[in-house]
Every structure is written in structure tokens, then in C-alpha cells.
Symmetry: C2
């Protein structure tokens, strides 16, 4: 049995003109700003005019802790969206925009896979509608204006050793992680240590994804802390007078992007912040717009449920006033077996015992989701190597946990493979009487919030924070930031801070090495481990094989 590659399937797609996709959602074509014939942005005016409409139902797709075996969260999000449409519902999906830089390293594209994809996949993975470029420009304008401020007299008395605002590029470039700028003499400014992050790590990306509208965007941009004065007081972006021009640069990027799935169903792809130092969800404005226009909206969050779902609930939903109605936890037999101790090269062989052992990871995520008051279902993202015995064992296990696991074959069959999941999700939403609530209250102390997440979600025995961290948190509380939510930056591979501790470990402690205030985005980042904000390229970057073929089609990107 041979399968077509993702790109082969994508190229065979019978795309509809984007105006036709907009029509399905009731968007008149004059409110679609086209980018080519198959991509569009939705106008601000149209979005504003929908404010009083009722919201559809919001479904989160999350996953067990990721393993090198892969889970297929985006693929399942696409598949479920198509499945809901296939059973006659008016559904849309909301996913994140992929980053350009990693495409040239080793990560492939991020537009689903098999028969559950969004198209045009090449465009989506390359420049798309220019959102990331706009963020790069806005970010670096602020950087240039900070150094320029210092150069022309430093009226704000910025301590150049304490400029926290770095620069960004949408590129994997390790040489830029740590640099010294303004060398070469007086006309180039004051030499100082600086560096670049990848664009998705920019606080502006998180801001764009949390802002309600352009006004809120500018307010948040103005609130960014860019440096500290010699007297240790913070210097804000608005002190540098950059927030207005940055908003202008981001005006178009704030409008959600509309594309389509292979089955011609509407897909919003907008925003893509890091899932460690940021919250890892697509934009609030896209999700809210989708909820006004569709009866069911399927969205995803980064990494596993311990990080992704928790932040989706506690940051995105809390701050945007969203009330999610259901959760789908994606698991694969292969990844569960890895969680049960099987090595990657042995995953092809049936191993029901390892599967059962690995299910402890899934069980804990299901338990955690209950704490937010939202009903959950497990989607088994089917792989050809899965045996019937394994699938049955997984189903039985999940039933024992009081939930249901449904075999999904969207990768191979598109919506035909997710109709059962779609029916169940609709049922679950119709019959559930609970109510979503975040894990902690706004007014809980910052340190207590961290502790609550660590103990109730990660099941740690203790949180280790030294005095410096605790003092910092106290100072932020005094400065009025006490009601912010926490954004945990931790390895995605484990409930603990050790990426090799798979399954459902207990008895561990969570050390918080550092805390950072993202005053513009509106959260406090608690860093529990090494966080890489500028990746490097591998020895043989995928870029070496990327080229146009004789027909002008892109080769090697996926």
C-alpha cells in the first residue's frame, strides 16, 4: 500500500475561490481583502458589525504529551472541522500560522496532513499574507527607536545594560542569539550586548493574538516594558513613542486570514505565538470572528494539554471571555506506547502492555481537563501500524476513565474518518450541563498561581522559587500586575521539567528559574528550564533541497 505525500494531495485539491468560502460564512466579498485567489483577510468593519450576534460552540483540540512519534493535533483539528461539516453542521476551524524560519531547518510545514489539510499549503508555510513580516517590522522598529533614543541624548535615562527588548527575524540563525551592537565608532551609537529571537517569540506576536481590536492592540503595545532606567524604573514602549507607528505596521496583520480545507470548509489561520514563553494559541480576533459566523468552531493549542490546554483556558479564554464547550484530546497508539517505554524504532510492533502503561499520561490529561469544567473525548488518530487489539485496549481504558475514545481516520479518508467523532462532540455539547471555569482566580497571588498550576496540573509535590524570584513577583504585585495570569515555560515532553520523564510521573518538584513580565501581552512568564528563543539550523538544513521544479512548483518544502 502506498500513500500520496501531503504535497501531492494538496496539489490535487479542488480549491474554491476564496469569495465562495467567505459566502459560506456570510461574508460579502467586499469585506474580504483577497491575497491571491485562495486567501483573504476579513475586514475590521465586517468584524465589528457582528458584535451582537450569538456565539457558536467552541471546541479545543489538545493532546497527550508530544513524543517523536507525532500526535497530529492540527490534522485532527482540520479533520474534525470537516467531519462537523460532513454531518451537516456549520463549522469552521481556527489554527495557528506556521513560522517561516523553521521550514528551512528540519521542521516540515504545518498545515495538517494527508486528507486533512488546509490549502494553499505552500503559501501558508511561506509568506502567507505577510503577518509575520509585519510583526518583524513592528518589533524591529521599536528596537531601532530605543537605540536611537539613547543615541540622541537618552532623555529617558535608559540603562543600556538593561534594555530587555531584543530584535527578531523569522529565521533559524544561532549566530544572532548573542551579539554586540553599535560598534565602529561614535556615529553608530553606544556598544552594548543585544540579540535576536525568532519572530514567533516576539511579545508582539502574543499581543496580536490576545488583542480584541486595533485600539486594544495599541494600548498593549504601549504597555510593553522595553528597558529599565538607571533608577530601575521600567521604560515602556509608549515612552519611546513607537506604539502608534507599530500599530500602523500591524493594522492589516490584525485582520484574520481565511483559507479552506481540502473539503472546501472555512479555515481561519491567524497568529502563532510560542507555546512556552507565550500562550501558544491562534488569535482571539480570529476565534471570536469564527464564533460569530459558525455554529461550531474547532481550535487547537500548542504542545500537550498540560501546557497548551491550561494556557488556552487560563490565559486566552479567561482574558477574551470565551467559554469553551468541549475538548478533544488527540492520542496515537504509537505515542502512547512511547509513553509506556517503547523505543521509536520498535513502535511498528504490537505491544498492548506498553500501550496500557502509557495510557497513564492520557488519563492524567483527562483528569486535568475535568478541573476546568469542560467535557472531553479522546480522538485516536489512526496510523496504519495500529493493531485492532491496541485500539480496543485504548478504548476500554478510556471508558474506564469515564470518557470515550473514538478511532479517527481523517488522514486517510478526510471527513469520512471523523464523522463519528463529530457526532459525539455535538452530542457531548448538547448534553453537558457544566460550566467552564479557569483553574485559579485573578486575585490569587502570582506565586500561588504558579504553585496551583504545578501541583494541580503537573502533580508536583513542590515548587522551588528562590528569594529573587519571589521578591520579583511581590514587586510586580505591588506595581499592579498581580491579577495577571501565569504563562508557564516548561518542556512539552513531560509533566515534569525533565523531558525524559514520560507517562504520569509524581513526586517531582518544579524549579522556577526566572520570571519575566510580558506587560503588553498581559501575563507573567515562569521559566522552568532552558527556553530557546532563537533556533539554529541543522547540519543539512532542509533549505538545501528546497527549489522550484521545471513547472515552477515548489520541491522539498515538505
Amino acid at each position: 500500500m502506498t500513500f500520496k505525500s501531503d504535497i501531492e494531495i494538496a496539489r490535487e485539491a479542488r480549491k474554491q475561490p476564496i469569495a465562495q468560502i467567505g459566502e459560506k460564512l456570510g461574508i460579502p466579498s467586499e469585506h474580504l481583502l483577497p491575497f491571491g485567489h485562495d486567501k483573504a483577510k476579513i475586514s475590521q468593519d465586517f468584524i465589528k458589525a457582528q458584535a451582537n450576534r450569538e456565539n457558536g460552540k467552541l471546541i479545543l483540540v489538545t493532546a497527550i504529551n508530544p513524543t517523536p512519534a507525532g500526535e497530529g493535533k492540527t490534522t485532527t483539528t482540520v479533520g474534525l472541522g470537516d467531519g462537523l461539516n460532513a454531518i451537516g453542521k456549520n463549522a469552521a476551524i481556527c489554527i495557528r500560522e506556521p513560522s517561516l524560519g523553521p521550514c528551512f531547518g528540519m521542521k516540515g510545514g504545518a498545515a495538517g496532513g494527508g486528507y486533512a489539510q488546509v490549502v494553499p499549503m505552500e503559501d501558508i508555510n511561506l509568506h502567507f499574507t505577510g503577518d509575520f513580516h509585519a510583526i518583524t517590522s513592528a518589533h524591529n522598529l521599536l528596537s531601532a527607536m530605543i537605540d536611537n533614543h539613547v543615541y540622541w541624548g537618552n532623555a529617558e535615562d535608559i540603562d543600556i545594560r538593561r534594555i530587555t527588548w531584543r530584535r527578531v527575524l523569522d529565521m533559524n540563525d544561532r549566530a544572532l542569539r548573542s551579539i554586540v551592537t553599535s560598534l565602529g565608532g561614535a556615529t553608530n551609537g553606544f556598544p552594548r550586548e543585544a540579540g535576536f529571537d525568532i519572530t514567533v517569540a516576539s511579545e508582539i506576536m502574543a499581543i496580536l493574538c490576545l488583542a480584541e481590536d486595533l485600539e486594544d492592540l495599541q494600548r498593549r503595545l504601549g504597555n510593553i516594558i522595553v528597558a529599565y532606567r538607571r533608577d530601575k524604573t521600567p521604560v515602556y514602549c509608549r515612552d519611546i513613542k513607537a506604539d502608534g507607528a507599530m500599530t500602523v505596521l500591524l493594522q492589516q496583520a490584525m485582520q484574520p486570514n481565511l483559507v479552506q480545507t481540502l473539503e472546501n470548509n472555512p479555515a481561519f489561520i491567524h497568529g502563532g505565538p510560542f507555546a512556552n514563553i507565550a500562550h501558544g494559541c491562534n488569535s482571539v480576533i480570529a476565534t471570536k470572528t469564527a464564533l460569530k459566523l459558525a455554529d461550531y468552531v474547532v481550535t487547537e493549542a500548542g504542545f500537550g494539554a498540560d501546557l497548551g490546554a491550561e494556557k488556552f483556558f487560563d490565559i486566552k479564554c479567561r482574558k477574551a471571555g470565551l467559554s469553551p464547550n468541549a475538548v478533544v484530546v488527540v492520542a496515537t497508539i504509537r505515542a502512547l506506547k512511547m509513553n509506556g517505554g517503547v523505543a521509536k524504532e520498535d513502535l511498528g510492533a504490537e505491544n498492548v502492555d506498553a500501550l496500557k502503561k502509557g495510557c497513564a499520561n492520557l488519563a492524567r490529561h483527562l483528569e486535568n481537563i475535568k478541573k476546568f469544567g469542560v467535557p472531553a473525548v479522546v480522538a485516536i488518530n489512526h496510523f496504519v501500524t495500529d493493531s485492532d487489539a491496541e485500539v480496543d485496549a485504548l478504548k476500554t481504558f478510556v471508558e474506564g476513565e469515564g470518557a470515550k475514545a473514538i478511532l479517527c481516520q481523517h488522514w486517510e479518508h478526510g471527513s469520512e474518518g471523523t464523522k463519528a467523532l463529530a457526532e459525539h462532540v455535538v452530542d457531548m455539547i448538547d448534553n453537558f450541563n457544566g460550566k467552564f471555569s479557569p483553574l485559579y482566580e485573578d486575585n490569587l497571588g502570582l506565586a500561588d498561581k504558579i504553585e496551583k498550576i504545578a501541583k494541580e496540573i503537573y502533580r508536583a509535590d513542590e515548587v522551588v522559587m528562590d528569594k529573587k524570584v519571589l521578591t520579583q513577583l511581590k514587586n510586580w504585585e505591588k506595581a499592579g500586575y498581580g491579577d495577571l495570569p501565569i504563562c508557564m515555560a516548561k518542556t512539552q515532553y513531560s509533566f515534569t521539567t525533565d523531558p525524559n520523564m514520560r507517562g504520569a510521573p509524581t513526586g517531582h518538584s518544579i524549579p522556577v528559574r526566572e520570571v519575566r513580565l510580558s506587560a503588553g501581552a498581559g501575563f507573567v512568564v515562569a521559566i522552568c528550564g532552558e527556553i530557546m528563543t532563537m533556533p539554529g539550523l541543522p547540519k543539512v538544513p532542509s533549505a538545501e533541497a528546497i527549489k522550484l521544479d521545471d513547472a515552477g512548483q515548489i520541491e522539498g518544502l515538505f
Copy 2:
């Protein structure tokens, strides 16, 4: 008398849908890739299909040496295009894309002015269709791959002190001119001196503007010299295997952009290389496409005619096989008076004597253009302070030079103000029997080419090149680069290398400080003076005043 601002006029424009503009040129809408409702790229397939059509007539708009008084080259290009359409001709214009970075410094937009503008002006001056972002990405991908190559073992034996390929951002950021990268330990690579230029200074920008098609683009990208080995031999982009992925990143950027003038006539805006270290003309692909679709094509070149027109003829036209049919030299009474010694603050007062004195600058440009075998006319870009006596004196002077000067009032009246110029240009083309030829032959020695330009165009007595420069040129000739044209990098304010020497100086010498090989673009740059490739921001950057007003319209950009 009060005048509306450029932005006020632009906002009142009755834009036609871009498909309608395309229709005027015979482009079917499926071959227009829309960006919003008022911008589009033209498909490669459509362009290829026009190859056997006859070409229209090509008109270059150039100018006297620029002064702070302004000349209005782009404005006159737009005005003449509209004027040609107004007298019943099928005409299009081809201008350069403005750079984003300088918009936030002190330079205003670059989309014409008054009633001779291209729209949508805000978009054109901001992200437009993403071409500059694509160039930035392609450039920095190569940069990252070079450092990555060194990091993973340096198989090509690159001398890290001799990496000539820098990085770029479309931003005025002096802090990035001279930096040290890869600090912070072994995982970040080998520390070395590096730096950023502004995107328009990238050799990729020059390549995009000279490439015939995507194949030619990739070939030229592969030919870029990025570094030298420890044995001094050059390392090419293709040795780093980056050319394929760079071509993919630039695929869409290679397609010319179509917009419209205020009078709904077609305008191609595509590419915008530096006019010093590069050739300063819009893209060959846009010009050639326009020539297939319109009977008259009006285009512009950077700076004054000594730099702009010479490079247009000797680099762009020579290499692209274009045969220009007429030249318009833009002059203003004010700028001529400045060339005649009047200070900027005294320009409002009538001063016929100073005007006559300044005309020496104009006369020399007219003489120079004759050497290329193309007929010329002077366009007097009218300002409200110009007196009748001054205008008459200028007309008489130009008649004495065997040419004609025509008063143009497009800024105030649109095409009504350029009909006379348009009629004259058509006449001139119909009645001229000469033939364009470049200033020098391909097979002249590189040093001799520099000398010929300096003596015949700049009227220098001598060229000063030290032994190192001469040896370098000889070595390039031996390496097979001897037939390349020269790209002079010199101040735009004077025929000499001293920006304060206005008028028509003689007896000067031209020192060539340095020569650089742009092996991908296909020219040798002769640097005669300080060339700034990364601007800085002024004390009060215009960015501080740029913002969205309550209606969501951009304030402060112009």
C-alpha cells in the same frame, strides 16, 4: 491659496478595481494575483505568453542633480503617463517600490505628489505586496546558512574574516551597522565581525531588478560571492546550496505589481535598488511586461542623470536588450536657482540671473544624454513661486541648447498639466532617426570603463585609482568578469565627488576608493566616496507621529 495635502488627494481618489486596470492592458483577471482590491501581481504564465508581441516605446524620466529644493521625478513620471493617456495613447508607467525603513525616519512616501500620484499610497509605502520582506527573508536565509556552514565543520574552508555577505533589515537602524555575532559560547558558533544593511542595498534587490525570469534569478543568486576561502578563492551562494530555497522565497516577489494612478491609468511598481551601490531602476521584468502591453512606457531612474540615466542606459538597457526612445529631464526653477548659488531660504524670490547660472547643470545633462543617441526634452516641474520671467528664461536657454523645455503643471492639474509634454514626447519619438547605444563597449577594460564614465559624463580631468584597485580590476578581468558594466557609487548632488560643487564643475578628479564585485547582479561597483548602506533615524523620527486616527486611517506617514 491653499492646497490639499498628498494624502488628502489620494484619499479622494476614485480607484477602479484592479481587474479593471488589468483589462486596460489586456490582462485576464485569472492572471492577476490580487492583493486587496487595488493591487495585483501579474502571473508568470501570462508574462511568458506575451514574449512574441511587439514592444511599445520606452521613455526615461531623469533629472538634473538633486537639491534640497526637490525636482519631482516620480511625480513627473506619473504626470507624463497620465498625459499620454489623456491625449489618447495607450500608456503605462514603471516606477520603483519605496523602502519601508525610511518612512519612519524623515523621508516621506514615494508615490508621486499632488494630482500626479499612484494609489493606494499608504499600502505602497508600507508592506505593499511583500516584495521587500521576501528579499529580506531570502537575504537572511543565505546569511544564516553561511554561519551554519561554518558551525557544522566549515567544509568549504571559509575564512570567517572574509565573509562579505552581511544581513539586511528594511529599517533605519545604525546600531546594526557594525556588530559582533555568535557570542555566548560554542553553541552559538564562531564570533566574528558582521553587520546589517538596509534591504534596498541587498544585492538580491539588484538581482531581482535585472533578472529576466525565475531561472535567470536562480542562476544570478547562485553566482553571488558570499565569502572567500583561506586560499582567497571565492565562495559562491551555490556552494552553500542556498540558491534554490532563495528562489522559492522570491518566486512571488518576481511577479510585477500593478496599481493605478489617480486618473486610473496602469502603473507598474516593482523593485527599488539603491542608486549608488546598485543601478537604481525598477525591475526589468516589469519594464519588459509593460512594453508588451502598452504603446508607451514611462519609467524613471534614481538620482540625477549623471548617475541614474547613465546606469539606466549602461546597465539596465544594455543587459536587458532595451532600446529607450526618449528622455525627459526634469528640472525645477527652484533647483536650478540652487545650482546657481541661491540658498534654500531665498528660493521664493525671483532671480533670473541665478537661474541662468544654474542652467549649466541642465545643459551638461542634455549634452550627456546625446551621447547615448536618445532625444531629450526638458520638463519644467512647475512650483507656485516660479515667475513668468524665470520660466521664459529657462525655455530660451534650453532652446539655445537645441532642445525644448515644456512647463508642466501635473502636480496641480494632473494630466491637463502634461498634455503638451506628452504631445512633444510622441512627436520626438515619431521623428527621431537615431539609435540608442551605450557609452562603452562590453569588451573595454574595467578601469577604462570607469575612466570613460568619469571623463565623458562627469567631465573629470582624471580618475585616481591606487594599485590595489587596479590589481583587483585586472584580477576580475582574468576571472572572466571583464565584460561586466560599471556601477558608479558617487554622491548624487554633484558631477564631482564633492556634494557641494553644484552647477557644471570642470577640472576635478574622481578618486575610486574601492571596487566591489556584484557577481550575481552582474556589475562592478566603483565606490567614489562614503556610501551609507544602513541609514540611522533622526532625533525625532517621523515614526513618533505616525498613528491610526479614530477612523482607522493612517496619520503622519506623509
